[in-house]
């Protein structure tokens, strides 16, 4: 179940990042992306990278 929880969290973060990533670069937008990336990296580091081919 832990893996499922991580995958769900990563997917939610990735989706949110994709929406923000479409906006023009601003300090606040870049801070959002950076923060999301950090959390994703921690999650992937814990459970291993997600299978992005799926």
């Amino acid at each position: 179940m832990e893996g499922n929880d991580s995958a769900e969290a990563i997917q939610a973060l990735t989706s949110r990042r994709a929406v923000i990533d479409k906006r023009p670069s601003t300090p606040s937008r870049d801070a959002l992306i950076k923060a999301i990336n950090e959390v994703i990296a921690e999650l992937e580091g814990r459970d291993g990278p997600m299978d992005r081919t799926a």
Binding site: D5, R16, R46
Partner: protein
């Protein structure tokens, strides 16, 4: 596999075990008037919600939150109690939100269990966004507004909020309050206590409040 057939003897309890590491001290609060002791709970654990938190200094504690559903029969599964270890805040966030089901066919999930799980799920989702916002806070300058994620319970939400650092810190001073976009509240788990032009502040209630507080690495 044995299926649960006697729902009349079942009930749900919330068990706290804290801190872990060293002598365990246990206290249990039952959601029913006839809840068993923590020791009895340790012998059941059909449905377990566990969490762990590790922070700095005197906040360095590990917790385990266990929801369990006691089965009516005499066959009791061992508690899937794992040894907890220090973790990063993100790892801890997920670890403490892990739900173990010892044997799904033996678990009879009551409406009370569903409510607790939904409350925990909502609080966990919000804590994930809060984790991101805490990182934004770390890099934010003192001047001007910053953009934060809406901390509503919807994992599909893509709204952002513009808050000053003072506003953000005011909300974060309570572990059970979250800034959300207007209209994103879930009344069954939270109350709107403040509304501005751009955002609302919700106060978690009941089990959701308890989980939210325990998931807050600041508290």
């Amino acid at each position: 596999m044995r299926k649960e057939t006697d729902s009349s003897q079942s009930h749900v309890s919330l068990l706290h075990v804290c801190p872990l590491g060293g002598e365990q001290r246990e206290r249990a609060s039952s959601h029913t008037s006839k809840g068993p002791s923590a020791a009895a709970a340790a012998k059941t654990g059909a449905l377990v919600y566990s969490r762990q938190y590790s922070g700095a200094g005197d906040r360095n504690q590990n917790y385990a939150l266990l929801w369990y559903h006691r089965r009516g029969g005499s066959s009791l599964a061992p508690t899937p109690f794992e040894r907890l270890r220090p973790a990063s805040s993100t790892e801890a966030l997920l670890r403490r939100s892990t739900i173990h089901i010892g044997s799904s066919e033996e678990v009879l999930v009551t409406s009370e269990t569903n409510g607790a799980l939904q409350a925990a799920k909502a609080a966990r989702n919000q804590s994930l966004w809060r984790e991101v916002n805490e990182r934004i806070r770390l890099v934010a300058s003192d001047a001007g507004d910053m953009e934060f994620l809406c901390e509503c319970a919807d994992l599909g939400c893509t709204e952002t909020l513009h808050l000053s650092l003072a506003e953000y810190e005011h909300i974060r001073s309570s572990p059970t309050r979250f800034p959300i976009a207007l209209g994103h509240e879930l009344p069954e788990f939270e109350n709107v206590i403040e509304e501005t032009n751009g955002y609302a502040v919700v106060q978690k209630k009941g089990t959701a409040a308890e989980v939210a507080a325990q998931l807050d690495h600041r508290s």
